[in-house]
Amino acid sequence: MNFPLNRAMMAPRGSVTETALKVGTLRMLEGASLDRLFGALSKRGYRLLGPAVREGAIVFDEINSAADLPAGWTDEQEGGTYRLKKRSDDALFGYAVGPHSWKKFLHPPAERLWQADRKGKTFEVTEEKPDTQKTAFIGVRSCDLHAIAIQDKVFLNGYYVDPLYKARREHAFIVAVNCGQAGGTCFCVSMGAGPKAAAGFDLALTEVCEPERHYFVVEAGTDLGAEILAELPGREVEGREKAAAEDTVASAAQQMGRYMDTTNIKELLYQNYAHPRWDTVAARCLTCANCTMVCPTCFCTTVEDVTDLQGEHAERWQKWDSCFTKDFSYIHGGSIRATSKARYRQWMTHKLATWFDQFGTSGCVGCGRCITWCPVAIDITEEVRAIRQAPQSPKSSPVGDKYGNS
């Protein structure tokens, strides 16, 4: 992953550090000292966003201190169900991902793109000012780091750049957390997206809960991360602590609730546009769009043009949209994807196949949200398995170039 973003403008220079740390450095931070990290970020003007218990789930919201984190909570997830449970310890990050993803902040559900005012026969357009509030994302899991990198490809890495996304992205400080426990619908290991944060963070924490001790092993991922880490009351990590942190992540990797065989998955789906399984899943699908709303990589939006009653002022708003709506593919005369089958097929084929051709990466990071938050428990891993078990003859449509032509 690449994060070619220029942070020079926001990295405060000249702060006093006891020892200059390097990127890649591991330090030990006592659990009770986590607030020092939050303090260091707040002092630099960062707004803290992180996990918090709300409405019976762990969501991402504004937090002020470590006391706001979901201490001692975990989640039990299965297809179509999510329940909070108490843990036997006071771990602060002892759960998998919830219904929110970081796109809520980086690619918000609704945002104004510009405003226009009538001036006689013409009108003046005023561009929306990019948001330069510095934000620190606390507790970003590896799957979500991959998801952010994927959305970067959509909004930053092409010829056109989304200026509003870019500003938010440049002003984000990422504190990753390596998962110590996988959820019932997790499959990041299958997608090569976790559970250990490999890149794309400023700091990465591994939480270790032992009967007598609660501490974090902290890795610096950027210069700014290293600078902040140097200010915290930690020390060099000991071999035993490092091993404990590694064991934690390794056990999460062993617990994946789901598995997806991704061998030649692009070709598999390109060859199976006419597979009968699409009918089966379409019969179950509610076309409610929940999967696309919770997906951390789904980026589709629509625009709404609004006006005041006087007709003198107009605005354009961008809103999360979904390929599960009929409107999404509407052209004069009707919807291209008129059936649930066509819409489900579009969504899954996009995630797991066409995404590779569009952005050079999978569109799925194995976070499992689409499985958990589907009211009727449709499971993308199960759908892939069903198609793989009885694929259509690959000879009928051999795969050649990116459009599936030989």
């Binding site: 793109l113 510009w114 226009a116 009538r118 026969k121 013409t122 009108f123 003046e124 357009v125 561009e127 959509v154 909004f155 092409g158 010829y159 056109y160 750049v161 989304d162 200026p163 546009y273 006419a274 980026f299 589709c300 939006t301 629509t302 625009v303 043009d305 006006t307 007709g311 107009a314 354009r316 961008q318 949209d321 390929c323 409107d327 999404f328 593919s329 509407y330 052209i331 004069h332 291209i336 994807r337 008129a338 059936t339 089958k341 066509a342 097929r345 579009q346 996009h350 196949a353 066409t354 051709d357 569009q358 449509s397 170039d401 990116k402 459009y403 599936g404 032509n405």
Partner: protein, 288 residues
Amino acid sequence: MSTNSTPETMMGREPSAPMLPRPCTVQRVRQETYDTFTLELAPAAGGAFPFAPGQFNMLYAFGVGEVAISISGDPGRPEKLVHTIRAVGATTKALGHLRRGDTVGVRGPFGSAWPAAAAAGRDLIIIAGGIGLAPLRPVVYHVLRNRQKYGNVVLLYGARTPADLLYTKELEQWRGRFDLDVQVTVDRASASWHGTVGVVTNFIPRARFDPSETVAMICGPEIMMRFAIQEIEEMEVNTDNIYVSMERNMKCAVGFCGHCQFGPAFICKDGPVFSYNSIKTLLNIRGI
């Protein structure tokens, strides 16, 4: 794709503010048919609007909405930005109410182009259905400007009724030329119509072109394009030399909104003009 225009010259020139419409002034409005009109625009801030044949703009009618419209003007005269629009929805109707001196918000030009220049030295068969003639007209202009560079040039144009025919005066002029083979047909007509009735694909076997040295450019309803391709393939035109223009719902035109996906392609940046070979499989699957 080989047909992609080079970003430096042909894509929207504001890569960092891609969603911002630029005000353009309506210079002229021409009613083409009962529901179709042509707008001639000029940037309010002056300057030209270079584009390649086949590219499109996003046009914004104040307070109403934005819509993707192919450029139908002459690429050799970039100071005039010309669009031919059929009033079928709220935004296109609002654009139809504009008069000289009014303002339209414009983004782009966006998308890929017809291989007009690359087709030099060969025969050219241009097949258009209905409003599909609009995105092909820039090709005709380009070819007429450089006529000696091309072999036989055939233009086949079909519409539903005589009242739906676009650019009738121009078609008449083009028919009068010895170096253009222009055939016009309609699906149905009253007795006062002295032209041909029938589908446009009927002309293909009779048209004068050398299949081994021909580039075909097709734009119209998807069903018409499929039939036209079938006929052209039967004439043994190399499928590498067949180009089509696709249409999908479009909101952003810059690859952000996801609406215009057509399998792995985004119509807005990989299209709208595709080589037939590149989308052959997808064209035959419903609901892609």
